[in-house]
Symmetry: C2
Amino acid sequence: MSGTITISVDAMGGDNAPRAPLHAAKLLLRERPDARFIFHGREEVLTPLLDEFAELRPVSEIRHSETVITMDDKPSQALRKGRGTSSMWATIQSVRDGEAAVAISGGNTGALMAMATFCLRTMEGISRPAIAAIWPTVRSDIIVLDVGATIGADADQLVDFSILGAALARAVFDTPSPTVGLLNVGVEEAKGNEWVKDAGKILGETSGVGFTYKGFVEGDDLGKGTVDVVVTEGFTGNVALKTAEGTARQVGTYLRDALKSSWLSKIGALFASQALAAIRSKMDPRTVNGGVFLGLNGVVIKSHGGTDEIGYKSALGLAYDMARNDLIEKIRDGVSRFPAPADPAAPTSSEAPTA
Amino acid sequence: MSGTITISVDAMGGDNAPRAPLHAAKLLLRERPDARFIFHGREEVLTPLLDEFAELRPVSEIRHSETVITMDDKPSQALRKGRGTSSMWATIQSVRDGEAAVAISGGNTGALMAMATFCLRTMEGISRPAIAAIWPTVRSDIIVLDVGATIGADADQLVDFSILGAALARAVFDTPSPTVGLLNVGVEEAKGNEWVKDAGKILGETSGVGFTYKGFVEGDDLGKGTVDVVVTEGFTGNVALKTAEGTARQVGTYLRDALKSSWLSKIGALFASQALAAIRSKMDPRTVNGGVFLGLNGVVIKSHGGTDEIGYKSALGLAYDMARNDLIEKIRDGVSRFPAPADPAAPTSSEAPTA
């Protein structure tokens, strides 16, 4: 790729598509002049739009796709209807074919995960993909996974998620040996369900695997940034993510209402307007947009569907960084450093394997 | 009980015991002159302290207990060491013996749950106890359960939690038919794990059970107050509760830092000081203190162990309200309105049961 980074963009996915993703690409290009784009979608819509964003033209390519996956399509429907023909599928296929380093879509999450898994396949040594979120904390951003790719996870899968999350932390935070914690209902060894306890035992015995296991963490450690990577199964991770988003909005509502409650507080808000704007931007979900699909033979980012060009630009920036810092190689390295789990069904060397 | 409500108080549980619980009782008595107290703990400590809070003397009784359960005692240890002899056990026993309408302790949660379950036993028709939290939202307070009594819950247990939570809502919020939602990773029927989906089917077919089932809710519905009662299993509920607490603290840190960031913002904070104090009090965890143990033959409240007299007073007020509004009767009524789940192991009428 001779120094450039090509991003494959589903230009039809999300509420503000195709304008927001193209506008975001223009914004990214100003910061990352070596970014290149392949926009997938309806040619008749994208061609005139690309003319509007003239700076993009020399670094972009449009690929026509007939079908658009909607937010109502169930994953299985989306696969049937859109495999081979949809902009979502084509976006992922560009990564599989080596034309692009990373894929991004603001479309239907379930459909995107189904297509990504089908098209790219799970990476060797990893049994299931996960979705990782970048989580702002009072310390610095951390990574939380799985936030909803799959429901439930056994001990080995939680260990896989640790490897994947640590590789992502190495790629985007530039920390050579990130700290990893398992989300639990207490920090004592005896707490939690069997899967979490077993995963804790496996991780506790590791060393030289590219991350440092710090034990169990609790829900309030997320906002504190106690560790760089928090690992949990998809149901709990999804609830935690949405609970945090909801609580942040709730406190924001309290603040707005309180500052409007009297003329004194309105004057106060005026004086503090710059400070309040700084908080708003800190709590702006657009600044950390993008769920990263990990564990596949290629990187796919899900942008929030309702976001604008600022949100898309964050997701594109994340995509660029992951590709630039060789996330996939870092994951392969992480997997290879880990001892393969003993397979109880595997024949021993003295037995002849039965076909 | 001739109009009075007797609260059994573990005066030795929590960081600020025994002073904080006694001080809190004095504060409650000013608002609820018909409250009565039994304080359990070391007589030599409690007697002089009660002299300090002279108003309490005519409405209080001290019961000596030799043993104090510590925060480090594991539930099984606590039962061995403290059954019959500890202030925690005696506090619960006063409810079992009908001397008090409700029990409260700021001690070790695991030990309190083990003792409460052992001493009071699970209520008929309910298979496992749950801990319910009162959750502040932008609408009004709601109830969330289970927030950590037990890890994992099958469909029938989630239905039990719905009955318990709805009864609590009727008792403390005075809503005749509270709305109930099941916490899930999406609102569509096909989302989530089998237990949640099955519980949703069972609840969806109910009517006249004392609450209205509203379907699935997500993590961000907690802060919105979409329903009066949110039901989930203990692992996810505990993570959600701590994540929300952590996020509220995180936003509070952002706000404090921002308002200190310049002289303009400091002036603004001064003008808005009353409004900011209102938010602080709204986000003060002491105003909604108390985890309610539900599903036992008697009500037990766990106060936060680190709280002061203000926090204890909130928990005592909650205890008083639950007893005044006949929570236990409301739960029994809720259980009786529900069709008993079919027991697949039960013999049919044509078969003679084998002893």
